[in-house]
């Protein structure tokens, strides 16, 4: 299995902690800027909270996508991955999960604290965290496809945002929608189920698409 790939990427992340912290601080700062800019009108803040947190999470997870494959590409490890007798899709899945553990999980853990700035109720905070927990792995999995397609291109960082951000739209709609629905008394169940479905579909399809893209990029 690809457990040791996850282990390796976590080890590398530990040795370069600054990269991990940049993503987290970017998220915290973007989310905190809005109340300062919009002003302390509690009703407006409450309405915009889920959207702001989710957009910040999308941008934060984009920020580190470039690094997902590029360092392995530059030092030749990626060639060795392509030549591994193990399935490339499983290796990619391992790398995407490691990316989520390093960039997604800290955002999920931080979001309830940031939600307090927007005066969200305890229920809304819970739904927000749950939606991020289901949604952020999808961001890493879809992002991996974009990162693989733009590998080795000049200005790949901008290109990857143009490729990947449109694909993030459904996650954004249902992620932020879950909190609004629960605030409106409709219950967040439907939205969360859809996010779960996105997660399952991307778990199956994204590693395969990424593996194909990597083989094309490396040729």
């Amino acid at each position: 299995m690809s457990l040791w790939v996850i282990q390796r990427d976590l080890l590398l992340a530990m040795r370069r902690r600054s990269d991990v912290l940049t993503t987290l601080f970017f998220f915290i700062i973007v989310v905190s800027l809005f109340p300062l800019g919009v002003g302390p009108e509690i009703n407006i803040l409450r309405t915009m909270a889920p959207g702001v947190v989710w957009v910040a999470a999308l941008l934060a997870s984009m920020l580190s996508l470039g690094r997902m494959f590029s360092s392995d590409y530059l030092d030749g490890t990626l060639e060795q991955m392509l030549l591994s007798p193990q399935s490339l899709s499983m290796l990619v899945l391992g790398k995407a999960l490691a990316h989520w553990l390093v960039t997604g999980v800290p955002l999920v853990l931080m979001s309830p604290v940031l939600g307090i700035q927007y005066d969200l109720s305890a229920d809304a905070l819970l739904v927000l965290t749950a939606s991020l927990l289901l949604g952020t792995p999808v961001l890493s999995l879809i992002g991996a496809i974009g990162a693989a397609l733009t590998l080795g291109l000049r200005g790949g960082g901008v290109l990857v945002s143009l490729l990947v951000l449109p694909l993030y739209i459904p996650i954004l709609i249902f992620g932020a929608g879950a909190v609004e629905a629960s605030a409106a008394g409709l219950g967040a169940g439907a939205h969360l189920s859809l996010l779960g479905a996105f997660l399952l579909a991307s778990l199956v399809l994204a590693p395969w698409a990424t593996a194909v893209s990597l083989r094309i990029s490396m040729e």
Partner: protein, 206 residues
């Protein structure tokens, strides 16, 4: 039938044809040395042999089957060392070796990794991060993989680059032992290397 066979291989880069009609066959215990000036397509040929690049024409067969359809079975039988050695700056020599061999499908214990690094002349430096090692020492870390992987076919792109004369001698013994055990080697090198065991073929690219 030969174990590794390339027939009518052609390589095109952009609108330039690097080589065409390349034929070779390799049997157990044989070494294929690829010669040619810079830019003649040596690395391209080696990348084709590993299946990283597709030839514009012709095919490469392993035990009579196209390597394109073998995939994982073929990858398990080869070790490729390219220009980029796949050594991570932030990992120690021993972590690098253990991880790269796990990637090649062979999980090794710390003790075995220690022995391999010692053999490559890196004793006492196993726990240093690769970024403080010299170019030649990083190359040795990459080459240590050959000791532990136990594959049949080695595809080596300039394995002697940045190595000192003691390490070149070490590589020579390593290659001779491998060929003596019935292994196969395809390599490019600008340095002269004397291999006495097994049959040596030369392939000249223009």
């Amino acid at each position: 039938m030969s174990i590794l066979q390339g027939s009518d291989l052609e390589c095109v880069r952009g609108d330039r044809r690097l080589f065409r009609d390349i034929n070779f066959s390799l049997n157990a215990g044989e070494l294929l040395q690829v010669h040619g000036p810079n830019g003649s397509g040596k690395t391209s040929l080696l990348r084709m042999l590993c299946g990283l690049a597709t030839p514009a024409h012709g095919k490469i067969c392993w035990h009579g089957t196209d390597i394109r359809s073998l995939k994982g079975d073929y990858y398990g039988a080869i070790t490729y060392l390219g220009h980029l050695s796949g050594v991570k700056d932030d990992l120690t020599a021993i972590e690098n070796l253990r991880i790269s061999s796990a990637l090649a499908g062979v999980e090794i214990e710390a003790k075995k990794a220690h022995e391999a690094l010692q053999h490559m002349g890196l004793g006492g430096r196993e726990l240093l991060p690769a970024k403080v090692l010299s170019q030649g020492q990083r190359r040795r870390v990459a080459l240590a993989r050959l000791l532990v992987c136990g594959t049949v076919l080695w595809i080596l792109d300039e394995p002697l680059a940045a190595l000192d004369s003691a390490a070149v001698k070490l590589m020579q013994t390593l290659l001779e032992q491998h060929l003596g055990k019935g292994g196969m080697v395809v390599m490019t090198t600008h340095q002269e290397i004397d291999i006495t065991t097994g049959a040596t073929q030369r392939l000249q690219l223009t």
